[in-house]
């Protein structure tokens, strides 16, 4: 059967296109304009060419914050994706436990990011925080204010607590959409628990997992509020991720040119990595 082409349908996406233009494209164009100029305020700009890009690309500060960001995102994906799948697999599929589990899983997602940061900032304090005080009482040398490792552990735990639920809910949605016939066929074939997971559940979750990986990668790579509230980027610069560094340059130092150049580089890296994730995962999906 020959496919019908009807390009009039494109008019339907016109409102979204306008919305995206105002919320994303115009600000992005402005950032590109800022990135090749210098300003001291009052809407007066001086042409600076590619110098800000050269400065950012040659700065250790930029590369170190990017490496921290990449390590952070890798750790987050390695922990949250398997943990989310594991929890989703073990959640009840029917009965009263379903709404209870769904509400419990949704709770962390409903808390605003700065509140999550405040909760964990207090939670980790060794004088009044439940986590910090308990660890100190057990003789464990924990202090996220002074120790970079403790700061990293706290920020990672906070992110896992806040966002694993998203992976769980997405995987759960994928799991409950699998028809019973698949499980019955697997039972007749005498398939093991692992075989059911590997050949039925995992392929059926592929699309939601793609969304989960993309969302968690982009969110963790652009993380700002939670670590900023908990550690402020410290101790030293140990938890200064790219977004925190960017805000320091743009708002703290009011260096709009370098901040804009860094934003563009940051944007291109996010775009590249998201495209790679998307392409790899959709290719794997197509092969299946």
């Amino acid at each position: 059967m020959e496919k019908t082409w009807n390009n009039k349908a494109w008019f339907m996406v016109l409102p979204v296109l306008l919305l995206v233009a105002f919320s994303a494209v115009i600000p992005l164009m402005t950032v590109v304009n800022y990135s090749v100029q210098d300003t001291f305020g009052n809407n007066v700009f001086f042409w600076n060419g590619s110098d800000w890009y050269t400065e950012i690309l040659g700065s250790d500060r930029f590369w170190l914050s990017m490496v921290r960001n990449l390590i952070f995102s890798a750790i987050i994906l390695v922990i949250e994706i398997p943990l989310g799948i594991f929890i989703a697999l073990n959640m009840p599929k029917k009965g009263w436990g379903v709404p209870v589990c769904l509400v419990l899983m949704a709770l962390p997602l409903l808390i605003p990011w700065n509140v999550v940061g405040t909760i964990w900032q207090v939670f980790g304090r060794i004088d009044i925080g439940l986590l910090g005080y308990t660890l100190s009482s057990l003789g464990i040398d924990y202090n996220y204010v002074n120790d970079p490792t403790d700061a990293w552990v706290t920020v990672i735990l906070m992110d896992v607590w806040h966002w694993t639920s998203l992976v769980v809910l997405l995987c759960y949605a994928g799991l409950v959409s699998i028809p019973d016939a698949y499980y019955q066929a697997a039972k007749i074939d005498g398939a093991s628990r692992w075989a059911i997971f590997r050949y039925i559940q995992l392929p059926k979750m592929n699309r939601v997992l793609l969304i989960a990986v993309l969302l968690r990668f982009m969110d963790s790579f652009m993380i700002y509020t939670e670590p900023f509230v908990v550690t402020g980027g410290g101790p030293g610069n140990s938890t200064t991720f790219m977004s925190i560094d960017l805000v320091k340059i743009a708002i703290g130092q009011f260096d709009l040119g370098p901040a804009a150049a860094m934003s563009i580089i940051y944007f291109l890296i996010v775009l590249l990595l998201s495209w790679v994730f998307y392409t790899v995962m959709t290719s794997v999906d197509a092969e299946h």
Binding site: W5, N7, T30, N33, N43, T54, L272
Partner: protein, 93 residues
């Protein structure tokens, strides 16, 4: 409409006009030859000509950044390299 807050310059305006012309060109190409010409190239996965434009533009951005970081501020050679790269992408990817 006052657009001074966007801090427009001639080079950045030319850059965005080029992108717009490319997108319009792709729309005309799609109108003349619908379907996006999907094929499997050297990357071993299916790409349409829209994908190939995206890969060309993204790659060109990184070529320019690499040139700035490793060679110097004269970007004409980076532009030439990007054009060669884009032709390669449209031919082989």
């Amino acid at each position: 409409m006052n657009l001074t807050w966007m801090a427009w310059t001639l080079p950045t305006a030319l850059f965005f006009i080029t992108i717009l012309v490319l997108l319009c060109g792709m729309a005309v190409w799609e109108y003349a030859s619908p379907g996006g010409n999907p094929r499997i190239g050297v990357l071993r996965f299916e790409t349409t000509r829209g994908d190939r434009l995206f890969v060309s533009l993204l790659g060109s951005a990184f070529i320019h950044l690499a040139w700035l970081g490793l060679v110097g501020p004269n970007l004409w050679w980076a532009l030439a390299l990007s054009v060669v790269y884009a032709v390669g992408v449209f031919r082989y990817v």
